[in-house]
Symmetry: C2
Subunit: 206 residues, 2 copies
């Protein structure tokens, strides 16, 4: 049926493990491409241009905005973050399912521009489990954990805007769940209008 | 997440192999229950009451209509056909995914009453392949084959009302496709509103 890839937005609570899930997906299956965001923030140690982010100057970024080279962008703490359009479009046309890891506001902008985008929300089985994971990391202060939990409370308000919830309980099963959702979605009727039209016109021609 | 089963409507061209797909699903996985229709038509040789159909008198059937014991019903060629409600509701509550094999009109009635029902349309890869299969059966006259193809042309007009297209090319792969769609759909946000509400209220309580 459809040969075009699916644009997939992945969001989820900090501590939900969405980053790990995406890395595993890319490792296990070759139908995925991960979109790399552009940003004006400074690279941190270990980050490479074109891998974690495309690092841009403010002028370069504003030129990308002006020339409509971004699917969506936002400003956090005086820095721009955005999704370059060219890469996403190339990969979709080549049949790749392109994954964007962005937050609610960006996800909603994507859904508006691309109604056929697939929005996944990754969550631990419960709020108690989310807290347990943040505490068990052992790297965060009680204050930071409280901030994260407050943030999760806000993020949860947007859960209804997503198409699927992905419960990350056991990582391996969760990766397979995500893959299964995406494979299944390739058969959705709204992604296969051309196929339906073709069957219809063939049947009329009989 | 959700413990409730999914109500699944399967339609498709005569010759698409949907009957075989459903039999295989029931054989391979234990999460499915097949809804048995009620009808006033006479049993044919080899048909058993409660297996192919629940055979009813006209009076019995009309009583079922009057007492709202049917999810949907229709009249074809002077006989009634309908879906008994009790069995479907029991199975859904027990967590089974209940499959109804019905045609477009019935499918649309189901979707109206149960917006969360999942509508699958089974089709061969092409109209040419549909015709080839009908011819290869060797049991139908050219005239009957032409009628079937005309019927398919009408049925195709309703394809857009379905949620997914299932292309039956290789049976085994097709059965797995259907199973994958249904498993994936259990994670859809609209089927898991309670789960989202619970996470939210837990996060508020933190």
């Amino acid at each position: 049926m459809n040969l075009q890839g699916i644009l997939i937005v992945v969001s989820g609570f900090s501590g939900s493990g969405k980053g790990t899930i995406m890395k595993e997906l890319l490792k296990r299956y070759d139908n995925y491409a991960l979109s790399v965001s552009a940003t004006t923030r400074q690279p941190r140690e270990g980050e490479a241009d074109g891998r974690e982010y495309f690092f841009k100057t403010r002028e370069e970024f504003e030129k990308m905005i002006a020339e409509e080279e971004l699917i969506e962008y936002a400003r956090y703490v005086n820095n721009y973050y955005g999704t370059p359009k060219a890469y996403v479009e190339e990969q979709l046309a080549a049949g790749k399912d392109v994954i964007l890891e962005i937050e609610l506001q960006g996800a909603l902008k994507i859904k508006e521009k691309f109604p056929e985008a697939l929005l996944l929300f990754v969550t631990p089985p419960s709020a108690a489990e989310l807290k347990r994971r943040l505490v068990n990391r052992g790297t965060e202060t009680a204050e930071v954990i409280e901030q994260r939990m407050k943030r999760a409370e806000q993020e949860a308000e947007g859960m209804e805007s997503y198409d699927y919830y992905v419960v990350n309980d056991v990582l391996d099963a969760c990766v397979e769940d995500v893959h299964r959702i995406i494979c299944a979605e390739h058969g959705r009727s709204m992604r296969n209008r051309e196929f339906a039209e073709q069957i219809k016109s063939e049947l009329k021609g009989e």
